[in-house]
Every structure is written in C-alpha cells, then in structure tokens.
C-alpha cells in the first residue's frame, strides 16, 4: 500500500443544521485524522447548506477513508477532493501585523506592495496588511515579514473551488 503522506483539500457540502460542524470535527478527532485548516460558512441561504473546506493529510488510503467516513455523516450532501479535481483553486486570506522602526517599516511596505498585499491599518509603530492568495504564497509573505518586525498573523484557512462550469 502507498505510504506517502499527501496534503489534500476537501470540500464538504452539508446541511446547515445545529451540530453539523461538531460531527465533522468529532469524526476527525475520533478517528485520528489531521485537520490542518478548516473553514465553514453558509453558502446557500435558501437551501440552508454550508460548505466546509478542510485541509488534511494522510496516505492515499487514509484520504479515501476520510472521504468515505465524511460521506456516512447524515447531514453531508457531498464530499469532493479538490486536490484531485484538475486542480482546484485554493485561496486564503491573512491579516499580518508588523511593527518596528521606520526603516524596517518602509521595507515591509515595499515588499507588501510587490506582493499585492493591501495596507489596511497604520499607526506610528505598526502596519496591518491584508493578503489574499494561495496558502503557499501567504507562507512566503509571512517569511518575508519575519525579519521586518513581524508581530502576529490571523489566517482564515483555505477556501477552495473546482475549475470549470460545474458546481460540486
């Protein structure tokens, strides 16, 4: 059996009913699966459905099990593996706070501009940048900010969608 650990992004369409997130999270903790990131919001108000985007990792067999186990939960409509769908698009948003001397601040600002990050708050001693990009790009942006007075970051987790004209 394939033993290599891979990272996969799953989209889970669920009925937006009380406890549904707890069922999904409980499944992961109960069966010992990883959750690297998880985002959830109602996506269809009239149908009362929410879309959960989960980033997880495991061997191909474990990823299959995760999908099958999610499929067993009663309020789950559908589960798709975005990573396997020619490839899907993933985006994440981060708010990054940087503080420090004027010299470093201007250096940070310059990098942020070239990264397409938006400056959304300034004080005498700090900046807050908003950056929305692929998760790897956000990692890279944070790495850049680390020596430039990086203070903290808040990340939304990944939202993902398949390419092409069809819905999941």
């Amino acid at each position: 059996m394939e033993t290599r650990i891979q990272r996969h992004t799953l989209s889970v369409l669920v009925d937006n009913e009380p406890g549904v997130l707890a069922r999904v999270i409980g499944l992961f903790s109960g069966r010992g699966y990883n959750i690297e990131s998880l985002t959830v919001a109602e996506t269809d108000r009239t149908a009362h459905t929410s879309r959960i985007t989960l980033v997880t990792s495991g061997t191909p067999q474990v990823i299959d099990q995760i999908q099958a186990q999610l499929g067993r939960l009663i309020p789950v409509h559908r589960v798709i593996d975005i990573t396997m769908e020619t490839p899907g698009i993933e985006r994440e948003m981060a708010l990054v706070k940087v503080a420090g001397t004027s010299e470093m601040r201007s250096e940070a600002l310059r990098h942020a501009q070239s990264f397409g990050a938006e400056l959304i708050d300034t004080s005498d001693t700090s900046y807050i940048f908003e950056v929305a990009d692929a998760p790897g790009k956000i990692d890279a942006f944070i790495d850049l900010m680390l020596p430039l007075g990086f203070v903290e970051v808040s990340r939304t987790g990944v939202a993902a969608i398949t390419r092409g004209a069809e819905a999941m």
Binding site: D15, P18, R23, D64, Q65, I74, P75
Partner: protein, 590 residues
Amino acid sequence: MTDTITETTEMTGSEIVIRALKDQGVNHIFGYPGGAVLPIYDTLFQDNELMHVLMRHEQGATHAAEGYARSTGKPGVVLVTSGPGATNAVTGLTDALMDSIPLVVITGQVATHLIGNDAFQECDTVGITRPCTKHNWLVRDVNDLARILHEAFYIATTGRPGPVVVDIPKDIQFKKVIYHPPGHIRHRTYRPKTEPDRGPIVEAVKMMAAAKRPVFYTGGGIINSGPEASRLLRELVELTGFPITSTLMGLGAYPASGPAWLGPLGMHGTYEANLTTNRCDLLICLGARFDDRVTGRVDAFSPSSKKIHLDIDPSQINKNIRIDLPIIGDAARALRGIINEWKETGAASDPEALASWWDQIAEWRAKKSLNFKNSDTVIKPQYAIDRLYELTKDRETYITTEVGQHQMWAMQRFKFEEPNHWMTSGGLGTMGYGLPAALGVQMAHPNALVVDIAGEASVQMTMQEMSSAVQFDLPIKIFILNNKYMGMVRQWQQLLHGGRYSHSYSEALPDFVKMADAFGAVGIRATTPDELDAKIMEMIDVKRPVLFDCLVDPYENCYPMIPSGAAHDQMILSDSEDEPEVTEAGKMLV
C-alpha cells in the same frame, strides 16, 4: 387515545411520541422513568397498547433492546430520562453502533430554557452520544418532533443499521401541535445505496468461476439484511460448492450442519477456517468488515488471494485490507444478482481445482482443532456447552452470551442452523450484554427457550435485570460457566504476562443459587459431569427465570488461538504446545 387522526388533531409532544412509536409498528419499549420523561410516562400510563418493560438500569434497557432487535429484525426502542439515564445508555449505544443494531433511544432533556445552565440532571446528551450513534437529534421545536421521530426510525433501520438518539426537552413534551403520521421519506442528504451496480456483479462471477481455492467469508451484514439474504447465501454456496466461514456476528446465516461449513474464523476460529482463509486464492467477503479479531496481522492476512468485498457501507472498503473488487449494496440484492448472473452465464466452478481444495481442507479439518480433553470428575466448559447444545437443539433456542472464554466456546461449539438466533457483543465486547439481551429476546419470543451462556464475572455487571425477568415472567436461562476467574483475562495473563494473575480472580463470589432465590427466580447448581444433563433438563423444564451455576474447570484455556499480532497460520492449538511467541508489538494489541 383515538385512532383516527385528522389534519387538525392537536396532540402534546408526549402523545406524539407514543403515537409515532405505534405508527412505526413498535410493540415493546425498554425503559426507565425519571423527571425529564415524566410526561411521556404519563401518556404511557393512559395507553394500553404499547408494552413498556421496566428494566433495572438503562444499560440493561439498551442491551434488552439490542437482543430484541437482533432476534426479530425490528428496531429496539428505549426510553430513558435525562442526565444519568442518558449516560447509562451510552454503553448500549456504542455496542449497537459497533454491531450495526437498529435502536431508537428516546432520552428526556431538561426544558429548553434551562439547557446550558447546568440544570438538575442536565447533560449534553447529543454531544455525548454523537460518536456512539448513527445519528442523533435534539428536538428544539415541537413542530419538528413527529418528523424527527419518523426519520429516526428510517435512519436506524435502513442502510447499515445502527442506534439513534432523539433527545426531547421536557417543555416540548407538553406543547401541543398537529401530528404528522409517517409518510414517504425522501431524506435531503441520507440515501443509502442498496441496489448494487451490475458491473461488479458480473466481474465477481467471473472471478468466482476462475477461482481455484475460493472461500466465502460472511458476517453480520447477512443477518442484518434479513432472512432472504441467508436463504440466498445457502443457495449460492450450494451452486458453487465453495467452502464458507463466518465471523462471530454472522453465525447462523449458513447452517453449522451444512457440508461447506468450516466453522468461524479469527482469533479463536477453527484451524480449517483460518488456514483456508490464509491459503485461498479468492476471498469473497459478504457483509463483514475485516475486524482485527478476524484478520490477525493484516500484512499476513490471506496474502495470496484476490478479494471481493460486499458491504452496504462504502467506508468499509479498503479500511483495513486492500480490496480488488468492491460491491456496494444490500446483501440480499447483491446475492440475488450474483446467483442470477451465475446461472444465466452458465458459470461453473473448476471441478478439479475445487476437489483438490476440498482435499486440502479435509486435511486441516482432520486436526480437529476444537477437540479437548474431557474429564470424569470436573465439568469442562466445552463439555457443558456441548451438552447444552445436545439437550436444546430440537427446540426453538436462542443463545445470547456475555464476554470472555465462555463466549468463544459458545461461538466454537454451539451449532446455529438459522439466522437471528445468536446474539453476542462482538465489536465492543461488552461484559453484561447477555443477560438483558436474553430478556429482550424472550420478550419477542415468549415461547422460545432463551439461554444466556454467561461467565460468573460478566453476569454480575447486569445481574439486577433478573428482577425485570421475574417481574415480566420471562423464563430466561442464565447458564453461568463459573470458572471463578475472568477466564479470558487469566488466559492472556498466562500466555502474555508470565502467569502474573493480576486481579483476575473472581474473589468473594455470591452464591448464585441463593441469589436466584432472593430474586424470586430458580437457582440450580451443577458440580460434576454426571449430574449435568439432569440439571440442564431441570433448567429447560422450569418455566421461570433460572440462574444456573455450572462449576467448571477454572484453568481451562480457549483454543485454538491466534496470538495477537500473529498470522492465521501461526495458531496455537492446545496448552501442550510451546508457549507462543508473542512479539513486543503483539503485546501492544488488545
């Protein structure tokens, strides 16, 4: 309560509960009252159709409902109060989840406005039972109550069956709304796949016809599918001439007297069943789940076979063992598909290959792995089960068990000819299951002989249910193989822990005969082999609940045994063999 319901008939939540149960065909409820279900109990008081069986502990109620369900194919229904009532039901829920038993458990909850306030007897029932139910609901609006109850039955009984919990706050039980009878349910998200695809059926028949060393490995899924699946399984075995083994949960689907029967497989399975599984070239798994008790070391499990796996639950495919051909669907439908395909294509087994396969199996059978050394002076537990079988085989007999050596001996030696006659806690291995389960079985089959093959340690866990058996005139027979030890624990301590018998002696045992007397039941004791038959006959003849204290050899071990972490061809057959090699990794396994 009137039977005519119009679109405008208003009912209280409690009345809706009782009405919905009846509309779902429920006749019996196993329960225990308390503050948060008083309105429902009040409605029950005024009802004279539903039979409520008052248990002595909520765990007992869940196991009784499991026994009822497994012996009838109908869902078992439980009614308990909030807080401790609900937490006491958790073991039975988990047991039913592991063994795919349909239960509908109704729990009372504190009033809606008190939820979250640490109110008296409040607990987060849906939170606690989420991982041990197939699904659960907290009813927040009485308008949803009828729909949720009907949905609960639908989900518990369809697809892969399992337990569900409906948690009903007390204020909801008083509120009045219009009742909706059960209609056709088309669930928004839940659509179990019961009809198998044709492609894999065709492929399965090709693989079966080409096999040289095939074997059927069947499980509880055949039983859960219903009697038709067992009938079709028998037809398929006869049609192909293939040998068949089964898990603990699947006994009775194929008759133990059938010519193709190898006995059960797994840790305490027969030599021939395990060797056949180990050496086969085609393993046809029907409604089983490659549990670790069956597979032993997974990388050495049936190493040279192609594997077909039929299951109604897609998550079972490739979970533990790599499958070559999955078939998703209901067992009876898939079996019918396979039989039709086999006949229509004129498929045939390879007669020469099959003959030499059976010759090989005959050699393994000749080991007679279930043999034991009998004694004139002390009752051997195996002998006790053999006599129990011989003296009950011509009656309508249902067997339940507790957990331990006695359970494994019962699995090995009691011969089941029909499905739904064997109830045991397989997946969870719950000591204390058998007595209340027997009670549930007896409730459903008042004229049958229902015997719990028990251990003296297990039976003390739910002994109080004897009181319910007496109250409801349920003549269950608790046949205790009293070896004065937690025998299975003692056996592992002997084999794996250097004979250090840490806390496995059943110290300060009660006198079971006196205990029976105290309960108002009948106590019988057998101490020597020569008196055993007469005592068993006495037990069968008395139409009251019996505690049978059968004093057996305390040091007997259960063989054959595949030590933890070992492969199927590394079986120990008896005490006289060298101490088994158990690896450090093996010791980690339970």
